[in-house]
Amino acid sequence: MKKPVVIALVLAGMILAACGQKAGVHLASGRNGQLVNPDTGEVIGGSGSAAGAGGDLSGAGGGAAAGGAAGGGTAAGGTSKAGAAKGAGGATGGGSSAAGGGGAGDTTGVTDSEIVVGLHAPVTGAAPFPTTSFQDGKDLYFNYLNSKGGINGRKVRVVFEDDGYNPSQAVSKCKKMVEQDHVFMLVGGGGTDQIVACSQYAATVGVPYLAEGVSEQGLNTLQNYFALSMTYKAQGSLLAQYMKNVLHVTKVGMLRGNTANFDDAHTGFLQAAAANGLQVVFDKSIDKNADAQTAFAAGGSVCSNATNKPEAVYPLIAPSIWIQIVAGASAQACNPIWSGVGLTEGLNTVGTAICGASPQTSGRAHFFSPFPGWNVTDQFDPAYRQAFAQQHPSSKIDDISWALWAAEKLLGSQLAAPGRNLTRQSFISAVNGHSFQTGIYPPVNYAGSRFGGTAVHVVKLNCGDTNSPYENEANFKTGF
């Protein structure tokens, strides 16, 4: 018996080892904000030292200021208003100016006719996202933009990789995109640990890295990093206001994955809750890779204190686990309002699963999102659905392509900022300190830091709408 037992244990161990985050991965790469030449190991830029000649971050030489005009677009800009924003055609950088392009900068991934962008996202691992949605959406906006002339005369090509919601795999994929695909820049589509790990890797090789706002710790010293939306810590402050003034609750809870990258979001929310007079009656973390049974049991503990149940709970964890948490809570007749930040919890595929697991959650799940609800896309950018119909006439459209369209539109405006003389250094210089707006994502402003997000959209779950369970609730909110 012993030999088969040993072999079976090894096999089981291998299966387990293939899953989940490896401890310390998020700290394993990167040298705290220093940009390093991958060939020589030479540090070419450190924290706060963005000036210099040649290979420095600001670039030298006389590149023309590019403003925000993206090639080919209508350059109409988004006239954003709370509640309704008129969309625009092409990407329009709201940035007022840009520094000159670096004459001797790094042009990896940039030719006279093309810019190569590397995008990674958790197609698998975080939630049962349809693979085709990412395939259809990964270059939907840039294909549309390319058909209008591209960005400053260059077309954008997107290389896409599934990071498996695993930081080790994310770094591996980012490394592959940098070393084999020779991308100009990297973009993180979601997943805190993956974004932190990849951005720190990118810093070591001098590659610009842009992603949804997630953690601040571990990212706040990186010179190559820019957040495309508000960080979790910043959103936590708004969330406490939202819970108090919109949801009208006083007892709240938080259930988060046990990654160190959520620590600042956790602390930020607790502080904001206290500042808003909210009583935190439930505060737990669970394994960020918890299995279904464990998550279900954790959900059952949400209302375990019968005399002091939370009225609203902030889940900060992978959607696949949150679904089981909601199911577990419902099984114990515990149906708090679920309200949180980020973008994946508010995707329709997650909403559909929540409605299946716990129909009573309808109307009781509200999430901040960097893009407006999918049911109102035409109010913000009519070109989106037209472009999808043209590019993928036989595919089913969903909000994942909308999320990618919205993010890439902001990205496009930033890529346009340095003008024709696009280098990694000129790009960073042109984005840093400037603001951009597209009319879909809330405006970003990098004047104070690399965390440029300024506002959020809000979506609300309605299980009665099977096409778009998450409906638009509020837009461009900077406070509640």
């Binding site: 018996m1 096999l11 595929t349 697991a357």
Partner: protein, 306 residues
């Protein structure tokens, strides 16, 4: 009161979760008792059971009971096919070869499920959507009875009843019937078994069919507990815990699988409740328990050499 909740609630969660693991663990034990093989395909037998029920309800429009029978039939068919296409051709090879082959079945089955069903969450209907009624009188509510403040749903009660019933049935089968004794005999000495007239292929088909049946039943019963399932659900969500339960309890002991399942459920749940600062706390606690049991008693708590 709060301390009581802190202790009692994880215990109740652990026991009901552990019962679920025990159900799949019994299938593992049955295959091991009869053929000395660790069946890594058992998780996907469970997934097929869940898929079969889903297809029966959503695609074919069958009433629940028929859909559940379809799910169990799907698991049984998978067990029989595994025996005919993989186990029997490898019958003369080392047991390790068969073990790896069953792991290969799981790794092939999951992508196939993804290709057919897609990457999405499938709803899983419980057996009693509106509680349990007899002659119009509701005896168990939809949420189930409350034990130490924890609601134990009718589905969980059904799992526990099924686990006990199947355990008793298998103990009787292996200990009291000629067929059961023949099954044990062939696992220990196949050549001698053949000499006394036992048809090994029939025994093999019987045990793998029964393992598929138990796996399919596991999927039908377990998936509704968490309300949904995905492709690969049985392998990624249940198999490792069930396998640990079987080894801890003793790979040759049906009651051991039951006990192992409960222990696994308790250890995982307490670790999850109290060690949440440790990434992978429940997995670490599980393997610490596994190693400890194997060091102290290599055959498992209730296992024997037979």
């Amino acid at each position: 009161m709060v301390l009581g909740i802190a202790i009692a609630q994880p215990a109740v969660f652990g026991i009901v979760n552990g019962a679920a693991f025990g159900l799949v663990a019994i299938g593992l034990v049955m295959i091991y008792k009869s053929s000395r093989v660790f069946n890594f395909a058992a998780g996907e037998f469970a997934t097929l059971g869940a898929f079969g029920t889903y297809i029966g309800i959503k695609v074919l429009g069958l009433p629940y009971i028929l859909a559940a029978i379809l799910g169990v039939a799907a698991g049984t068919a998978a067990g029989l096919l595994t025996e005919r296409l993989v186990v029997r051709p490898l019958a003369d090879r080392p047991k390790v070869t068969v073990l790896v082959a069953t792991a290969a079945i799981a790794t092939i089955a999951i992508p196939l499920e993804l290709m057919i069903g897609g990457v999405k969450t499938f709803p899983a209907r419980p057996a009693f959507e509106n509680g349990v009624s007899i002659f119009g009188v509701k005896i168990i509510s939809k949420l189930g009875p409350s034990i130490f403040g924890v609601r134990v749903s009718p589905q969980l009660l059904l799992i526990m009843v099924s686990l006990i019933a199947i355990g008793v049935l298998l103990v009787w089968f292996f200990g009291r019937t000629d067929l059961g004794l023949a099954t044990l005999a062939t696992s220990q000495e196949p050549t001698a078994g053949r000499l006394v007239g036992i048809r090994l292929n029939r025994i093999s088909m019987l045990t793998w069919g029964a393992a598929g049946f138990l796996g399919g039943l596991g999927g039908v019963l377990l998936a509704p507990v968490t309300a949904s399932f995905t492709a690969g659900y049985g392998t990624t969500g249940v198999l490792i815990s069930a396998f640990t339960a079987a080894v801890v309890g003793g790979m040759t002991s049906i009651p051991g699988a039951f006990l192992g399942g409960i222990l696994v459920g308790l250890v995982q749940t307490y670790a999850q409740f109290d060690l949440t600062k440790v990434t992978g706390a429940s997995s670490v606690a599980l393997f610490v328990m596994l190693v400890a049991v194997l060091l102290i008693r290599p055959t498992g708590i209730l296992g024997t050499e037979a």
